[in-house]
């Protein structure tokens, strides 16, 4: 991914309280961009199997008569995971239990500006 996109997501790691890692992957959970605050990735929320679970979850959630699924927030005892549906991309934010999820969700439109071109490329393929 371009330096501009990397720079933007790296700045989010610094800005958002409690955020540890950001992973951009495709629908199969294959990572395209992986960023973390200290070079280490938490075990929960960063594996391909976990990332791919979102594909099934978002498809099913869109059938609950509440419209298209936008995101899924998971609050584990010591980990918070926010997965955004940017089909065909999945953006996963992994943080501590005190991670500011409201801040992450409010960045929805800003994230669209940066990843828009990649969505077009992947859709074409």
């Amino acid at each position: 991914m371009s330096d501009e996109v990397k720079k933007f997501f790296s700045s989010l790691l610094q800005k958002i309280n409690g955020l540890k890692a950001i992973i951009i992957s495709d629908r199969d959970g294959v990572p395209i961009l992986k960023l973390s605050l200290d070079g280490k990735f938490p075990e929960l929320g960063t594996k391909q199997q976990f990332l791919a679970t979102f594909t099934i979850a978002t498809d099913q959630s869109s059938k609950m008569l509440l419209g298209q699924n936008k995101s899924i927030i998971l609050m584990y005892k010591s980990t918070t995971v926010v997965q955004l549906n940017k089909s065909p991309l999945i953006i996963t934010f992994v943080g501590t239990e005190n991670c500011n999820t409201g801040h992450i969700l409010s960045l929805d439109n800003e994230i669209d500006k940066y990843i828009g071109e990649y969505k077009v490329i992947l859709d074409r393929d």
């Binding site: 199997q49 099913q60 609950m64 509440l66 995101s71 899924i72 927030i73 998971l74 584990y76």
Partner: protein
């Protein structure tokens, strides 16, 4: 002895401020108790909520440091669904509002209230 009428009354207390349905279901997605406006939606919601919960819960148990799933929030264009575990059952709020904070507070308080009574019927 579980009193279904009382249980439904407790669940209905959460049905304010955009919360349409409050559901109590088992891990297989079968509806145990329900309070709300759309009966048909409730069965679909419970089936999907339990399925998504189980898919993510296993990742928490499989991780090196046991990290149980406490809350699941499904954020859709038209509203939100929040799920948590109470005893060995799942409690679920279906809302057409975007106020995630109030939804989490509501479900936490309901969980507190139901935890002990429901533990007595745990199988």
């Amino acid at each position: 002895m579980l009193k279904p009428k009382v249980l439904t009354n407790v669940l209905s207390q959460a049905n304010t401020g955009g919360v349409e349905n409050t559901l109590l279901l088992n891990n297989d997605g079968a509806l145990l108790a329900f309070s709300g406006f759309h009966n048909k939606d409730a069965r679909i919601t419970s089936a999907i909520a339990s399925n998504v919960w189980s898919a993510y819960e296993k990742h928490g148990h499989n991780s090196f440091r046991e990290d149980p799933l406490q809350f699941l929030i499904i954020n859709c264009e038209g509203g939100n669904v929040i799920v948590t575990q109470v005893a060995n059952l799942l409690l679920c709020l279906y809302a057409n509002t975007d106020n995630l904070g109030i939804l989490k507070t509501k479900i936490s308080k309901l969980k507190e209230k139901l935890e002990i009574p429901l533990q007595s019927i745990q199988t």
